[in-house]
């Protein structure tokens, strides 16, 4: 029996460890399989949470933008100052007619927002003539 060389020693180390790893008892093997599957399952669950389909992201973003624009634009339109509404008022009103500018502004907004009053706008000449005639 001679002196063990480093290579022989390393070979023995490898063989001994390989043998141990390859001959684990069935209970330990089952444990290891279970924890591996748990790790993968846990990761899948967390990644499922973060991987919502991208088109859903798109729809959600579009909905939020629409809502924000609606909330931002509508109150501004309704609360616009009387001076800004003056030209519209002058168009709609005869010189003798004096109505509250805010009310007219509100009316103009209502007309613009509702589709059924478009006939009224198309026949504006007749209404202007009627107002001038019978004022």
């Amino acid at each position: 029996m001679g002196m063990i060389t480093e290579n022989m020693l390393l070979e023995s180390v490898k063989r001994g460890l390989d043998y141990s790893a390859g001959n684990l008892d069935s209970q330990t093997q089952a444990h290891l399989t279970r924890i591996r599957l748990q790790a993968l399952e846990r990761n899948n669950r967390s990644s499922m949470f973060f991987h919502i389909p991208s088109f859903s992201h798109g729809f959600a973003a579009a909905a939020v933008v629409t809502l924000l624009v609606t909330l931002w634009v509508l109150p501004n339109a309704k609360d616009s100052s009387p001076t800004q509404a003056a030209p519209a008022v002058s168009m709609l009103m005869d010189s003798g007619q004096k109505a509250a500018p805010m009310t007219l502004d509100q009316d103009a907004m209502d007309v613009l927002m509702s589709s059924e009053d478009m006939d009224f706008l198309e026949n504006m000449d007749i209404y202007e003539w009627l107002v001038a005639e019978y004022g």
Partner: protein
């Protein structure tokens, strides 16, 4: 026109989602294969360091969880080194906790008879299940002796030996995994070899 655009966008989104799902499944399958390939060796490494089956399973579990959660996206070629870095870090943490626990035990004069007994590594190694053939019995015996000898090495020597001789990492990779200098790795490794040679000097499996 807008409806068509929405449909196309939706369809593309679905395709993208399916591609993502497929790549996630492929990634999961790859990770599963990787973990299956290293779990037994990882357990042996942890058991050599802790000499406790339950603790070893916990350490391997922690290492697996962390690798999967934090490093799944890393290239597959990096997984081995990352996994061993996590595993050895967990083993070091376990040893630190054990030291603190032992200090408290000494402080409160709690004597644990089991702890007082000299540790016999050969009593803790895995039992072979089918030792009938003579060669297998010999291998089992050699494995037990080897594990016992490695098990009593100081932790850092043990880590350097396992990473270099068993896992096949070079000095630089081993240093990264062990979070120490290359010089330290060389020292630990050389001491481990010297110590093993001293212990196994009278035993050579090839002579039998």
């Amino acid at each position: 026109m807008m409806e068509t655009t929405a449909l196309v966008t939706g369809h593309n989104g679905q395709l993208e989602h399916e591609t993502q799902r497929e790549s996630a499944l492929t990634s999961t399958a790859k990770m599963n294969n990787f973990l299956r390939g290293v779990e037994h060796r990882a357990f042996v490494i942890a058991r050599l360091a802790t000499q406790d089956n339950e603790e070893s399973l916990d350490i391997v579990q922690d290492a697996m969880f962390k690798l999967v959660q934090k490093y799944s996206a890393h290239p597959e070629t990096e997984w081995g080194a990352l996994f061993h870095a996590i595993l050895h870090s967990r083993i070091n943490d376990w040893h630190r906790r054990q030291k603190v626990r032992n200090r408290w035990r000494v402080f409160f004069f709690l004597s644990d008879n089991e702890d007082d007994e000299a540790y016999k590594p050969e009593e803790h190694v895995a039992q072979t299940q089918f030792p009938e053939p003579e060669e297998q019995a010999l291998q089992a015996e050699m494995s037990e002796i080897m594990l016992a000898a490695i098990g009593v090495l100081p932790l850092r020597q043990q880590q350097a030996l396992l990473l270099r001789a068993w896992e096949g990492y070079d000095i630089a990779e081993t240093a990264k995994i062990m979070k120490c200098s290359e010089g330290s790795v060389k020292t630990h490794y050389s001491r481990a070899i010297h110590s093993l040679r001293g212990k196994l000097g009278g035993y050579n499996g090839n002579d039998n």
